[in-house]
Amino acid sequence: MSDGDGLPERQLSRDRFLRIAAAAGGAVLLPGVAAEAAGALATESGRLQVLDWAGYGNDGGQDMFAQYVKKYPSNKPQFTVMGNESDALAKLHAGLKPDLFRPYVGWVKYFATSGLVQPWNPKLISNFKQLNPFMVKAGQHNGKQYGIPADWGFDAILYRTDKVKPKSRSWGLIFDDRYKGRISWFDDLNMITLAGLYLGFPRPWRQTDEQLKRSQDLLIKKKKNVRLIWSSEPNLWEAFGSGDLWIAYAWPNDWVQMKKKKLKVAYMRPKEKPIAWVGMFMLLKGTSRSKLAHAYVDAWSSAKSGKWLEDNYGYGHANTRARPTSSDLLRALQLTNLRAVTEPNAYLDRDIPRRALYARTWEEVKAS
């Protein structure tokens, strides 16, 4: 589509005219950015289609993209909820045509090589330079920026200090026979990775068949100690908060939430290292609203949005200038340390080449 296509079809409101005039005027001073913005207004139409997790659309996450809506009121985002990356993948293959979606960092390579997505143009994202460089790097494949980092956190261990006496700072606590019936795991194939970490495998994301068998055997053997395999945070908060659970595979926000309930809890960073996860916005190939998608992600990437996310959802934000009000969350996320998400502090979650096999192995653990 050439510039200007579709323009005559739309009626220009006064508001819209003024914005285009402003963009055109600004173009004298900032030719590149303003021209892009004006180009977006001229060529891209319709509502921005966003495939995202529940709670990040008009069901509570409006502050994350308020700047975008203010700027492009005629192209307000329209949301489809994704249950997880697997669900998103199914929806994309079934014919859903979103402009962007937000899988997690372990899926970047999978989607980048799937032919479903295209790289972003970081120059169109004014807040890009404020994003954590390690997370930015994790969003790249073959030198191209396929993922724009957004929210993040750790997989580590939450436990009740008044009930649990860990033998050591280790992932072994979530397998500890002494606390049978008080432990909670997370319903994700990352449990296989975690078992590999605990068993000391050098590359837990690329386990051999024999290593996978050992990881699975460990999980099946220890599943008798597990009371709940949680799949949503409210599910965990309710069970942990009511005292049914004492130890859980958890995220930093879960620790903050349990502290708010006046429970004596600690958030352990195991010696085998926590795993850091990062939400990555990805741009769908062939989207007709590429620039609007960039503007949407730009709004998400601002320090203001980041602070809102940290204060309201308890996750970290990739914008290094975003700081939460809660000092507890600041500590749990180690927000003053840019390297918190990577070695030697943690492992950034990564591609699992045999993801289907990992998933099958984990499903068999649950079914056993």
């Binding site: 997880n84 194939l189 049914d244 499903e363």
Partner: protein, 300 residues
Amino acid sequence: MTELAPAAPPAPRRRRLDLTTPTLLGLPLGWLAVFFIAPIAIVLLYSFNVYSLYPGEQGFTLKAWHDFFQSSIYLSLFWKSVQMSLIVSVIAVALAYPLAYFLALSGTKRKYVFLLLLIAPFLTSYLLRVLAWKVILGDHGVINSFLSWTGIRDPDHPISQLLYSRFAVILVLIYVWLPFVALPIFVSLENLDRRLLEAATDLGASRFQAFWRVTLPLSLPGVVAALFFVFIPTLGEFVTPSLVGGASGYMYGNQIVDLFSTGFPDWQTGSVLAIFLLGVVALLMILSARFLQARKVTAD
């Protein structure tokens, strides 16, 4: 003499095309074909890898079926679910029978009021009813609090098996399905020819003998229908186990859902599990239909 012309044969009446039956049946049958048979056929094709939503190698293969029957894990899980559903069905029927008996045969004038009370829980959300059990069964729930208050149980050692366990799933499913079970039994008893009971009494049968030899056998179709009515849906149940089942209450239905939607989509294996469940359920429905066709016995 004029010959009388033979009377002309009556003109054949034009046969009217009766479209009533095809019209009446067409819509529901078409609906079933498009929204029930076709999706099942697609799932079947998925199970043989003839059709796949994802790019990759496609082609008829029995591998997923072979793996399923070779896998002790999936079949064990299915057997575990069968056991749980059987326990739920039998207990629900045992509890519902006296209830239905009272409503149908006690002669109370308020039986329909009681019947309404029985189904009153349906006025609230299914999820709400299941979630309410968490308040009752939790470590600091109603039961454990009562036990610690009475000194029967140390507050630091509550009965933790009450929630997030197989027991919790069975208990909640019984609660949820009890009204469903009572209804077919009630109908079966309500239609019982009372003269048969009078005849039994006239012939010297005690009340228990009359129940054992007349009422129970004649209400068996309703009992069997009720049994299947619970067993079939609970076999594929996944909502209740995911809410109160925890790690040990995980059922076959949960596995199907998870294969389709979590981790990495494995629609082929998920389809195999779903079709296998469908096959078992279909077989059970045929069996239950045979019981439902049992002839009604009257005193005439």
